[in-house]
Symmetry: C2
């Protein structure tokens, strides 16, 4: 018969130390103006009884529980993992915990998940790449304080931290153009993805920069198998003259790379391939994948800085946009001699 023992409360500590509950509370919360003798008595009692304050009680009375939630579409995505890590680390230093709410790519559930999470937490880090902007705007109003990640949002009191995908893809195209490529294919991400839209905007800008450049947009996706599945379409594009392919992200590019190898296509001999995000796997593929590096951890830290300001009741800080850095690896190379003219 296991007797469920009553947990030690502040009352027990007070009695043991021979002081009032209030004094115990003050000592434990590091309030000023407490007599050292009382403090030491309290500490002794705490140690002796193995007392640990009830977080539930504290939450109730303070109206906050020192926990924030990060809502992400897919925890397997290295980008979100990195942001999460950076966020967690930074929050930890301020005594905050981070709860992860994975919406599992069910775009429809993002709203419900975020609302649910907000009930248990003091604030939200929201990553909802597919949510239509009007909905998002309504949502953030309901769950504030909130920081939006990885997409721009013009809403009062809601800072966001993101990546300049347009600029990044432009830089990547510049790299390819410098290698001599003039016909490029792009394996697009999910149609409703905001960051895919930004990439396509970057492609358009690159086309203006390079008048002799042509870009063909192919349906892709966001995961390994999407990239593999697109291999045939990519080869057709190559037959139409394309000499390089950009993937929506590294996963897509890696999936494609795999399938191309199976089909005996030489990369970059026959075709150059590049990704985006610089996932840890990029440098370990065969051939290593040229990609755009994003400071994932740094992003997370900046998110926390903004969120903590908000939680403390401060004014929302400025928005922040990181410019990705080009990582040239072996998957991109000069235009093959055989190319340059259409093959079709």
């Amino acid at each position: 018969m296991v007797e469920r023992q009553r947990p030690v409360t502040i009352v027990d500590v007070a009695r043991q130390a021979g002081v009032s509950q209030a004094s115990v509370s003050r000592v434990l919360n590091g309030k000023p103006n407490v007599d050292p003798s009382i403090a030491s008595a309290v500490h002794a009692a705490v140690a002796e009884l193995g007392y640990e304050p009830s977080l539930a009680a504290r939450s109730l009375v303070q109206g906050r529980n020192h926990t924030v939630a990060m809502v992400v579409p897919d925890l397997e995505n290295p980008l979100f993992q990195g942001i999460l890590k950076g966020l967690t680390l930074a929050a930890d230093a301020d005594g905050y915990r981070v709860l992860v709410a994975d919406t599992d790519e069910r775009a429809g559930s993002e709203e419900a998940v975020a609302l649910e999470a907000r009930r248990r937490c003091d604030a939200i880090v929201l990553c909802a790449p597919r949510m239509p902007e009007p909905r998002l705007r309504q949502l953030v109003a309901r769950i504030a304080p909130v920081v939006v990640v990885n997409r721009p949002l013009d809403a009062a009191g809601v800072p966001w931290v993101g990546v300049d995908y347009a600029r990044g893809i432009h830089d990547l195209v510049d790299h390819l153009v410098a290698l001599g490529h003039r016909r490029i294919a792009y394996l697009a991400g999910p149609a409703s993805s905001v960051s895919n839209g930004e990439r396509e905007r970057g492609l358009a800008a690159a086309r203006e920069t390079h008048p002799d450049l042509s870009v063909e947009i192919l349906p892709g996706g966001s995961r390994l198998d999407d990239g593999a599945a697109a291999a045939d379409a990519v080869l057709e594009a190559r037959d139409r003259g394309a000499t390089a392919v950009l993937g929506f992200n590294d996963l897509v590019a890696l999936g494609l790379l795999h399938r191309l190898a199976e089909l005996g296509v030489d990369v970059p001999g026959d075709l150059s391939v590049a990704g985006f995000d610089d996932s840890p796997f990029a440098r370990y593929s065969t051939p290593p994948l040229t990609s755009m590096s994003v400071p994932r951890g740094e992003l997370g830290a900046q998110v926390w800085q903004r969120l903590s300001t908000l939680v403390a009741g401060g004014r929302s800080e400025h928005t922040l946009l990181y410019r990705p850095r080009l990582e040239v690896r072996a998957s991109t190379g000069p235009v093959p001699a055989s190319a340059g003219a259409d093959r079709a």
Copy 2:
């Protein structure tokens, strides 16, 4: 000037519905024996006021917050991601949330993290592959209810769910032996890792099964770069006659694969390579990686089943061990004709 408005409480609902707090509580908790007219009045009031019960208050009075934490050494590891996903899904169905506590591979912090997490949660899923058993034993006693994942533990009231690494590696070796390999190298995981110990046990067993088999254990690691860094040692082993290499996990094997390709070693022509865990990347590498598949999501679901039983005050259920399934891919092949005799 923003007026922080007072949240709607159960008192407001009671007043609005013209009933007592107790009735509101009963309706909202689905207690039996409530007059339908009262119920509808309450629901109407709730809807009208947009009332949401305070989880903090509920936690305080009930002594539980319907949240559990999973302590993992590294969230980037696909194995833990999968388990987490399965766990989250299953817990969700029972109205429980899962909080993630990443110890970031700092083995020393596992204990502190687990204790901290336990304070905020009703139970713990513990994955501490490096913790010495005596410490672990003490720890689980302090944080019960708890389920241990991915390592065996013989402690009263603490169920565990794991993978039969010994059996798995044995099966993998059988596959290689069937292909004709007789000299195998193994890139070991972290020395203190329990699951590495089990793999080595499996290797020993395999050696008994196949008397003409010899196994060489090389220092490896648990990550991509560990595998890449071990390439030279692997080649030396090959010069001593090894025709196949097993990685501690897929990450190590993939890192190795990458480096071997750089060095111009043909896999599996010159050397067969296999991993463990069957991460999503395994099938997309070049060549695709032979690996042992582990039912990650299923593992997570079983963890929840045991944990929920415990939380409900039930007796701890039986321990569970999954046997990995062999996934043969192109990275393993017959012994090269040139091999068979030592080259040294």
